[in-house]
Each structure stands twice: as structure tokens, then as C-alpha cells.
Symmetry: C2
Subunit: 315 residues, 2 copies
Amino acid sequence: MKRYELDAIKASLDLDLVERMLVEGFKAYSAGQVQVPPVQTFQFPRANGDCCIKSAYLEGSEVFVVKLSSGFYDNPGRGLPSNDGLMLVLSATTGQPLALLSDRGWLTSVRTALAGRIVARQLAPREVRAIGIVGTGSQARLQLEYLMPVTDCREVLVWGRGEAQREDYRTFAEGLGFRVRTVADPRAVAQEANLIVTATPSREPLLRSEWVRPGTHITAVGADCAGKQELEPALVARADRIIVDSVSQCSAYGEVCHALGAGLLEPSRLQALGALLAGQGEARGDEDEITLADLTGVAVQDAQIGYCAYMALRQ
Amino acid sequence: MKRYELDAIKASLDLDLVERMLVEGFKAYSAGQVQVPPVQTFQFPRANGDCCIKSAYLEGSEVFVVKLSSGFYDNPGRGLPSNDGLMLVLSATTGQPLALLSDRGWLTSVRTALAGRIVARQLAPREVRAIGIVGTGSQARLQLEYLMPVTDCREVLVWGRGEAQREDYRTFAEGLGFRVRTVADPRAVAQEANLIVTATPSREPLLRSEWVRPGTHITAVGADCAGKQELEPALVARADRIIVDSVSQCSAYGEVCHALGAGLLEPSRLQALGALLAGQGEARGDEDEITLADLTGVAVQDAQIGYCAYMALRQ
């Protein structure tokens, strides 16, 4: 088994290939062709940390992937990053470990942001007036960057909690070629942008239904475990079309779980992303529709991006 | 994170320390002080293989451990071993991966055989007439070797399916200083030995109740997943004392599950090994009792032996 460090992984990864393989992965997952054992999670309350282990095997693939990702939120005080992670790529023919990808969680960030791109290709309004980004962290950055091939729009409104973070984001987005407006109230994002991504660790709604205009698409990626929430449940219920990366995960702890729990949403309204990609059901129809994608992150994404990274590195 | 190969792991492991830590691990597990997320399993029917991922964290330990073990049964035709495995040792304080133990499954064999020793210290008859080993594979060998500090008896009866395997086992056991009798019928093992270990991948009973004499202890380690069985359910039901490494695992797929399923055994008769080790309940009482230990292997054993190996190697 070879071990690869982050620099080598970054240098070799082909994002277009990853995107295509993620599409295939989502389709296979929705079609029941992926072995996804239960997620393993650990809580370390004394260390303010957690760890989860996600594994998946797409039937017919030559490999399967086991991913560890951890968040230890007191680490910065020790000079260590809060988040860490690695992937093991193993042969589905012999069981042998083939590669240890010491990606420090980067591949997870990439597959999450590419899922945002995949969804936007299906559901973004034909004319994007402005992109709205709720959040200023690394995922909020990657989401904007990865939307660039989907739209010519180079206007972005950004909300973040702190002035300093907003200005850092401005520098980042201007570097990509965007005209940037930072706002201190998420209302402005909802009122002016019609392609919105929420990417925060929020535990309370940031966007309210009354602020959102017809014809808007929202991708929510923050709610990836119990307790997290970025959208008002009424906004979720109001959406004309609701796409989820995993019906079971999103119902349990994704953005839609709050609206389901409040009885505002029929479970039958959830449409699996993989089914949409496989051509079952329409993408955006009427330009006045509000569409929502709830992305919790599924292990098949890890399996596919891990496989891509391995294929590129072994050459 | 450092990577350690099997030779270095073998050279540094302190078996007595591992045994003590396994005892502590079993106690903590029975006391509910171990985080043990659900086992992840994969099936690869086209490759005749499987893989499982077991993880555990003993509350208060400085590390947690994720273990992968695989069995790909067509591997020998490719010149590869059927079984492979590795452990990841991670910090419970920062989440950082500390060590990759490329032990190829050896640590699993050791912790399994040491559990046999731990049980025998509690339940072996005071006078061992002969040790009986059902099976001739690597676990059947390690079990015999690890029983040596528990008893002065150096008589062993061995059953295995093939003449060649039996003779190989004879050479091995004579090398340890045993007088060896190989038998072609497991009946002879049951009739003459009173400290018996079954360590086969059998899927049907090998030992029948009517063959077993009062005062015998049997440790069954073969049934570690659904479908495996080494003992007649009537023998399990007849045992005066039944110790299990995990009530939930043994009830689901261990040796006792067949007797439970047949309605021959009350679930209340199962006693957790950790509780026994913690002094709750007696060890062997009457010398005429038949005692049985059903060992399916629990992730806390992996966590403890992985931690031991890491401590020895980092010095």
C-alpha cells in the first residue's frame, strides 16, 4: 500500500473526471447499487471532538473506500487544524489495501462542493442575477469557485458573521474575478441572489421563507449531522422541488428533517439526486419555481473521489 | 502517522500486558464504558470475499482504534494470503492518526487466542487431563500455545479434516513440548479432553452433547459471523455456565445463537465475560460442571491490542 500526501493528491486530481464519477455514484446509490454500511461515529466530549467513519462500495468497481474524518474543535489552540481525515482505498478483488490518501479532509471538501456544482447544473435559474453565499469558510469558498463553470454570472453576495471573515472572503472572490458585495444580514442574500449556497455550521435558521424570491435555487450543505440547520422549515416546505442526496440521511438529520418533523412536508416530496440525474423526473421546469437541494454527503461520493485520486496517483 | 510492519509489531508486543489490557477492556465493555459503533461489513460475491470494519473507543483511553479485516478466499490461487488486515490508531485528544499497524490480521489472531487464555484462567478444570483442539489452522495453534501458562497439562488431542493438516499440527504441538494424539473423529476429542477449544470455520456442529463428559470446559471461537457453528445446540443448552464475550453479538451470530433460536436456551443464562472478570458471578464452581465460552470477538479487544502495539512501537 502506498501512502500519498495532500500535495500529491491536489496536483493529480482531475476535477472533471471526479464530477462525472460523482454523477455515476449518485445514480448508482439511488438505484441501490452501492453497499453503504452504517456510518460509525465517536464522540469525545472531554476533547470537544468527534470522528466518523464512512465506507462504500459501488458494485462492479475495482475498489472500495473507507474514510475517516474527525473534528476536534480545541485543536487550533494546540496549533493543529480542527478537521482531519484520510481515506483507505482497497481492492474489491483481493481485499488488499492499495492506497492511503492522507488528504486531511480535502477530498471531502471537494466532493461536497462538486455535488453543489452537479445540483446547480440541473436546477440553477437560466439567468443567474447574482450568486449568494451564506458562510465564509473553506466550503463556502469552494462552492463559489466550483459554480464558475455552471454560470457566467460574476456577481456574488456574501454573508458571514464577522466583518473580518467577510473581507477575507471578498479578497478570495475578487481573486476569482467576481464583483463582491458583503452583507451583514442574510436577508440581502436571499432578496438579491437567485442561486444561493448555504455552507455554515449553523444550528438555527439563517434564511427565512419571506425573503426568498420566486425562481431561486438554494443548495444547503451545512446540515450534515443532527442539530444543524440553515433554513427556516417554512422555506423548505415552500420549495416547489426538493432534491436530496440521500432520502434516509436527509430525513434523519439533513436540512429537510426539521420541516418533516414539524409536519410541514410530506416525505413523498423528497426526490433523490441520483434519480434526477438518471433522468427520472424533470430538472428545473418553470423559471418561477423555488428549488432546494439538501446535501448531507453520502459515502458513495467518498468512494468515487477516493477511486479517482487513486487512479491518478498510481500512474 | 507512522506505519509499522508485521515484523516490528511482533518483535515489540508484550503479551502479558496485552492480556491485562484485554481483561480491562472486557470489563469496561460489559460496564458500558466502551463506544462500539455498528460493525461495517462488505460482501464481494464475485471475488469470494468479505471485509469488516470494527472500531472502538474505551472511555478515558488516549487513543481509539479502527480495524479493517478482510477474507478473500480465492487469493491463494493468486499467491496472496486469504486474510489481511490493518489497524489505525488515532488520538482521542486531537483526532490525529498516530499509527498504521500493517499487521496483516496477526493482532486479531493474538487478541482472539488471548481471550481463550483469559477464559481458561476462569473456567478450566482444576485438573486438565488433556487439552482438546478442534481445528488445525493458525488460530487452533495459537490457542494451544497461549493455554500453556494456564495449565501444566502437556497432552493434546487434535482433530482436523485432513491427515496432512493433522500431521502438520502434530509437528507444531510437539515443538511446543506436547504429547500429541491426532484423531479422525471429533468424538475422541470430546471423550478424552476436558479443556477443549474449537477453532474452525465450520458451518455445522462438530461436537455433540452426548460425547462431552461432566467437568469439561469448551471455548468456541469459530462462530464469528452468521452461518457458522461448531457445537450441537443441545450441548450449548446443557452447559451449566455459559460465558459470552458480547451478549448482543453472540445472540445474533455466535455459537449460542443456534440454541437460542431453537428455543433450547433462555437468554438470561448468558453471562458477559467482562462481568465475570469484574467479579460479578462465580468462575468454575463444581468440578463436574460443563462450562462454555462463546467468543465472537469484540472491537474493544482490537482497541486494546492496537493501543498496546502502538505504545510498544512508539518508544
